[in-house]
């Protein structure tokens, strides 16, 4: 039966009445109305649902809410308040990385976690970190340039 889980999202504490096995993705989207985090596959193959858990990029479609254990969640709606997130979002606009944009919340979350952890980036490091984020419009080249652009700022 559903019980209350206390989660902290973008600095705000929420109590959500869901089954502990419910993936964070659906808690964010359907319970809290934070729809910036996207559903793309449900099996951690596309990266559209990427969020930060204590600053580390994770796939929210595979993270049961009952396994979060108080760790801080950051989503695309909140990542702009972090230095790396703000730099990535600005770079994405400076270089016009985005097309349809559906995968980009996940791309931005992966990229900002990468930048925060490692400001010295080369193509290999970027490709390794971003390989799990699919883009059907094919913005990969600009994503790579966007991360380098952000790293220089």
């Amino acid at each position: 039966m559903p019980t209350g889980y206390v989660i902290e999202v973008n600095g705000t504490v929420h109590t959500v009445e869901v089954d502990g096995g419910t993936p964070l993705l659906w808690v964010l989207r359907d319970v809290l109305g934070l729809t910036g985090t996207k559903f793309g596959c449900g099996i951690a193959q596309c990266g559209a649902c990427t969020v930060h858990l204590d600053g580390v990029a994770v796939r929210s479609c595979q993270l049961p809410v009952g396994a979060i254990n108080g760790r801080a969640i950051t989503t695309i709606e909140g990542v702009g308040t972090t230095p790396a997130g703000a730099k990535i979002q600005k770079a994405w606009l400076d270089l016009e990385v985005i097309q349809c944009g559906y995968c980009q919340p996940g791309q931005i979350m992966s990229a900002s976690a990468l930048l925060a952890a490692n400001p010295q980036l080369d193509d290999a490091a970027i490709d390794a970190a971003m390989a799990g984020n699919l883009c059907r419009c094919g913005t990969y080249v600009r994503i790579r340039e966007g991360i380098k652009h952000a790293a220089r700022t």
Partner: protein, 443 residues
């Protein structure tokens, strides 16, 4: 046996060569494709409640906010920006001042000038719409200038416009668009308007920032899949895995035992589970035991399709153009012989199929991202047995189209499910179902 091609909405409306040429000739000669610009009454869903609507594309609020109603939907190709360039340039406002709104289902005002239906596709938006949108904006600008001229008792020709301000230089006065919007909207639209020439463009043909991307970078953009309605439930579905197949039997017992599963909707060719959130609905669908009666196409497979195509390719082809002596030329030199085969492929947009629908009191409200709002409206109406005027299509930005959203099938399935649900319901396809039910690109 090859599956009979579906009568797709797009197939019979591709622009003919003649239509394209006619359009192109129109631009070259400065005679823009004519669109009627009848006065349009303010709509109930007007984004800004004050101010005036000049035509189907432009609304100017008393606080100077300008809303552009976009006939072509944005799905990543950048047409909100290109349409805004056309409108803002001829209207003489800054591109960053405008509000972009998707057009409702309305073929009279938003029918594609080349296709004759309401559709975004075929890389035709700029070619088809730049002329009509420029004309609409120039017309609105002329009406604003006329209103200011009447207010001041001067000749409209003596006034200039820039960045949403009308200036009477001779008398050292100016007025904002918003201040004369109400008066201007009742000025008869000019029958003929002068469009800017190449040297006068400030936005058209110039690099500008996309207008859709700032919200996309911060997660604020509401795609169809992000729609939230008061009291909304969530559903997911499985349709017959074989085209033409039917539901034979459904064991609902395990699904109904899951807390939060509200309803199992069994239609002749699909089954949907409705729950308190999407995850619950998905768990419910997994828990169902569905038996299908696959029907006549049960044996259809890829090998057979290839065989049929190979056999068909052995017959006489269609001569599209004959020029010179190809047979002789082919004998004269090295012949390169290759066979290219492409399998059926899913369009697989990142935003998988989804549609939110509310069927109530003889009407149907739909929230979706579609390339064909008119077909979504008529498809929903036919499925429900109601008049299309009773179906409201609220269109949204699209998380990838690639042609997949040129078909209204997802909307039709969603409204058929919604007809059995109390209150609004958001129907989301799983990725597996999205791929399984794709209308594949041709072999």
């Amino acid at each position: 046996m090859l599956r009979e091609p579906d009568p797709t909405p797009f197939a019979d409306v591709r622009p003919t060569r003649r239509a394209i040429l006619r359009g192109a000739a129109g631009f070259a000669g400065g005679l823009l494709i004519g669109v009627e610009l009848p006065p349009v009454e303010a709509r109930a869903d007007e984004p800004v409640p004050t101010g005036a609507r000049f035509n189907a594309f432009i609304h100017v609020a008393t606080d100077d906010a300008v809303t552009f109603t976009m006939p072509a939907v944005e799905m990543g190709q950048g047409v909100y920006t290109s349409q805004a360039q056309c409108l803002a340039d001829e209207l003489d406002i800054d591109i960053d001042r405008l509000v972009a709104a998707p057009a409702p289902a309305d073929i009279t005002n938003y029918g594609h000038p080349l296709f004759g239906i309401q559709a975004t596709g075929g890389s035709t938006t700029t070619m088809a719409w730049s002329g009509p949108l420029r004309k609409a904006a120039a017309s609105a600008r002329a009406m604003l200038v006329h209103a200011a001229a009447a207010k001041w008792g001067v000749d409209p020709g003596a006034l200039t416009t820039e960045k949403g301000i009308i200036t009477d230089a001779a008398n050292g006065r100016s007025v904002r668009y918003g201040e004369v919007a109400d008066a201007a909207a009742s000025v008869p639209p000019p029958g003929d308007v002068k469009l800017k020439n190449l040297s006068q463009f400030r936005l058209i043909g110039k690099p500008v920032r996309r207008i859709d991307t700032p919200d996309k970078a911060t997660g604020k953009t509401i795609y169809g899949i992000d729609v939230v309605r008061p009291g909304m439930k969530f559903a997911t579905l499985m349709a017959s895995p074989v085209i033409g197949g039917k539901v034979a039997f459904v064991d609902q017992s395990k699904a109904r035992a899951i807390p939060g599963v509200r309803q199992v909707v069994v239609l002749d060719d699909l089954v949907a589970v409705v729950g308190d959130n999407t995850w619950i609905a998905m768990q419910g669908l997994h828990a169902l035991s569905i038996e299908w009666a696959p029907g006549a196409h049960a044996g259809l497979n890829q090998t057979q399709l290839w065989n049929d195509i190979e056999k068909a390719s052995e017959g006489a082809g269609v001569v599209v153009k004959k020029e010179g002596d190809a047979a002789a030329k082919l004998k004269d030199g090295t012949l390169f012989d290759a066979t290219y085969e492409l399998p059926y492929l899913a369009h697989a947009p990142m935003e998988m199929m989804n549609c939110t629908a509310h069927v109530h009191d003889g009407v149907c409200e739909v929230w979706v991202g579609t390339q064909v709002p008119g077909y979504a409206q008529s498809g929903a109406a036919t499925a429900l047995g109601i008049d299309p005027s009773k179906v409201t299509i609220n269109n949204h930005l699209i998380g990838g189209g690639f042609g997949r959203r040129l078909e209204p099938d997802g909307v039709v399935s969603a409204v058929r499910i919604a007809a059995h649900v109390e209150g609004p319901v958001k129907v989301i396809w799983s990725r597996e179902e999205d791929i399984r039910q794709q209308l594949y690109r041709p072999l």
